[in-house]
C-alpha cells in the first residue's frame, strides 16, 4: 500500500513538472508571432483576421470584407509622438491611392477611445480607424510598438512592414507598390 502511495505521489509530481514545462514551451511559442517569423524569412504570411469596432461609430469592420483590395494597416495610439508626425502623410497617401483600390485602415491600440477620437478629429483623418483597446491584434501581427504599418495585398498576404514611423511619402508608396504588384 505504501509502495503504491509512493508511486502515485511520484506520478503526480512528474505530471505537475511536465505540465509546467508544457506551459513554459507554449508561452515561449506564443511570444513569437507567425507573422514576424515569416516576414523575417522573407515570406508573405497571411494577415491575421479581425473584426473590430470603428472609432467613427459606424459599427464594426472585418479585415476579410476588404479582400480584393490592397490594405495599408497602421497601428497607432494618440499618446504616441511619432504617430502624430506620420498621420498627415498617411491621410495624404490615402487620398492619393483611393481611386486605385487601396484602402487605409488605422488600428488604435493601448489607448482611451475619447483620446483616439480627438486625435482623428484634430488631424482630419477620414480613412477607417478601428479601436483595439484590448490589443487583440498586437500579438498576432507581432507589433513591436507604435507606430507600425503593414501592407497587405488583395489576397490577404502581408507583403511589407514598416516598424516605426513612416518617414516620408516615398516610404508609403514603396510599400503600397509591393502589395499592389503582388496581385498583378
Amino acid at each position: 500500500m505504501t509502495g503504491r502511495l509512493r508511486l502515485g505521489a511520484q506520478a503526480v509530481a512528474v505530471a505537475i513538472v511536465a505540465a509546467l514545462l508544457g506551459l513554459l514551451i507554449w508561452k515561449v511559442a506564443q511570444g513569437e508571432s507567425e507573422v514576424t517569423t515569416e516576414l523575417a524569412r522573407g515570406g508573405t504570411p497571411s494577415a491575421p483576421l479581425f473584426t473590430l469596432e470603428r472609432l467613427d461609430g459606424k459599427g464594426d469592420l472585418a479585415l476579410e470584407s476588404l479582400r480584393g483590395k490592397t490594405v495599408v494597416l497602421n497601428f497607432w495610439a494618440s499618446w504616441c509622438g511619432p504617430c502624430r508626425d506620420e498621420t498627415p502623410l498617411l491621410q495624404q497617401a490615402s487620398e492619393r491611392w483611393q481611386s486605385r483600390n487601396v484602402v487605409f485602415v488605422g488600428m488604435d491600440i493601448d489607448d482611451l477611445r475619447s483620446d483616439a477620437r480627438s486625435f482623428l478629429k484634430r488631424f482630419g483623418v477620414t480613412y477607417a480607424n478601428l479601436y483595439d483597446g484590448k490589443s487583440s491584434t498586437v500579438g498576432r501581427y507581432g507589433v513591436t510598438g507604435v507606430p507600425e504599418t503593414y501592407f497587405i495585398d488583395a489576397a490577404g498576404k502581408i507583403r511589407w512592414r514598416i516598424a516605426g514611423p513612416v518617414e516620408d511619402a516615398a516610404d508609403l508608396d514603396e510599400g503600397i507598390k509591393r502589395a499592389v504588384q503582388a496581385r498583378q
Binding site: A9, W79, D110, L112, G133, K134
Partner: protein, 153 residues
C-alpha cells in the same frame, strides 16, 4: 463574551463604512493602485508611460464628475478588458487566479498531513521488552548473531 461580540460588530460597522465611502467617493491614489497600465503592465501609480498619464488624468476627471469606483473601473474594463484590473475579478475564467493558489495550499496541507501521519506510524512507539512478535530484518538478525558470537568468544 458579549463584549467581544460587540467589539466585532463595531469593527464590522467601521469597515463597512470605509468600504462604502471608498466606493462612492474613491480617491485617485486608490484607483491608481488598482488599475494597470496596458503598455508597461504595472499599476498606474508606479508608471509614467504616456498612456498611464492619460489614464490618471481620466480618473481624476471622472472622480470630479462624481463617478463611483465601480463605474470608473467598469469604464476601463470596457476599453482595455479585465487585464486592466490589478486584482482579477472573482468570476469566469479569472476565478482560476483565486482558486488555484487556494487549491495548491489545500493540497500542500493534505500532503504534509499525510506525510506526518505516515512518519508517526513508521516510528511508532519503541518496542517493549519481551515484544517477540515482530520479526527482525534478516541482515539485522545476522549482525546481531555475529555480535553475540563475538561476545561469547
Amino acid at each position: 463574551m458579549k463584549l467581544v461580540a460587540l467589539a466585532l460588530a463595531l469593527l464590522a460597522l467601521v469597515f463597512a463604512g470605509i468600504a462604502a465611502a471608498s466606493e462612492s467617493r474613491p480617491t485617485a491614489a486608490e484607483l491608481e493602485s488598482e488599475l494597470v497600465c496596458p503598455v508597461c503592465e504595472t499599476t498606474l501609480d508606479t508608471s509614467d508611460a504616456p498612456v498611464a498619464r492619460r489614464m490618471k488624468a481620466y480618473i481624476r476627471a471622472r472622480i470630479a464628475a462624481g463617478d463611483t469606483k465601480s463605474e470608473i473601473k467598469a469604464h476601463f474594463v470596457d476599453q482595455f478588458g479585465t487585464a486592466v484590473l490589478a486584482v482579477p475579478p472573482r468570476k469566469g475564467f479569472d476565478l482560476v487566479a483565486w482558486v488555484l493558489p487556494l487549491a495548491g495550499l489545500g493540497l500542500g496541507v493534505v500532503a504534509v498531513g499525510a506525510l506526518a501521519w505516515r512518519w508517526s506510524r513508521v516510528r511508532g512507539d519503541p518496542p517493549l521488552a519481551g515484544d517477540e512478535g515482530a520479526p527482525l530484518d534478516r541482515v539485522l538478525e545476522q549482525r546481531v548473531d555475529d555480535a553475540l558470537e563475538r561476545f561469547d568468544r
